[in-house]
């Protein structure tokens, strides 16, 4: 059953499906993060995105993140689906659902998951603008690397 908790898919994500995987009688709270494609980043208009993944490893890393969450919040159950391929503005790129008996843990664990996804999960996005394209290079989405070469200090 566990294999479906962590998915990389080229199909649209149904939020309901991801949430349902973590709902259970002992958990009263599910914190969900839905990442959508934003039209403007630093004033620049995105037309659409292309996501690429090292799919098998990406699913493994999503599962590792869930294990890390389990170590920190033992009562948490996590499910994550990330979409790849061409995504239009407002399309759902990622859904993270974390259920816990009490809500504070769910929020915290969910934030932990999205931060870790941006650090260790081998998925990349390419922005398509009116005047060109670019692979987005670092994990925190604040910089671009036209040649895909981040500075050492960005990988700390």
């Amino acid at each position: 059953m566990n294999e479906t908790l962590f998915m990389v898919t080229d199909q649209p994500i149904l939020i309901e499906d991801v949430v349902r995987k973590v709902v259970r009688p002992e958990a009263g709270a599910v914190a969900v993060f839905v990442g959508t494609v934003r039209e403007f980043t630093n004033g620049k208009r995105t037309l659409f995105l292309q996501y690429e993944a090292y799919t098998t490893m990406a699913e493994k890393m999503l599962e590792r993140i869930a294990q890390e969450i389990k170590e920190r919040w033992p009562e948490a159950k996590t499910a994550i689906t990330h979409r790849i391929g061409k995504l239009d503005i407002s399309d759902v790129a990622v859904v993270i659902a974390v259920s816990t008996p009490h809500r504070k843990d769910a929020y915290e664990a969910n934030q932990y998951a999205i931060e870790r996804i941006k650090q260790i999960v081998p998925i990349w996005k390419k922005e398509y603008w009116e005047d060109g394209t670019q692979w987005i290079g670092n994990q925190l989405e604040t910089k671009e690397y036209p040649d895909g070469k981040p500075k050492e200090e960005d990988l700390a």
């Binding site: 990330h82 941006k118 692979w135 994990q139």
Partner: protein
């Protein structure tokens, strides 16, 4: 044989997402130098996964390894 995988910007720079090379008992660091020279890319800040796990630069290749070159990720 060793399988090499390239993704995103690196895939475009190398011109290929996957290739096979002959096995040599070298480290990841040495392999990176070879790739840099051959394809004119900079792998300084590229992480390497061996068989789908992140690996240290001093790890030595084993026959059959799948080596993935992973530029900074931007999922989420």
């Amino acid at each position: 044989m060793i399988t090499l995988l390239f993704f995103a910007s690196l895939k475009e720079a190398v011109g290929n997402g996957q290739m096979s090379i002959e096995y040599e008992p070298i480290t990841i660091e040495q392999l990176k130098r070879q790739i840099e020279v051959k394809y004119g890319v900079n792998l300084q800040n590229v992480m390497v996964a061996v068989n789908e796990e992140y690996a240290q630069e001093n790890q030595r290749l084993q026959p059959g390894d799948v080596i993935a070159f992973i530029p900074p990720v931007s999922g989420g």
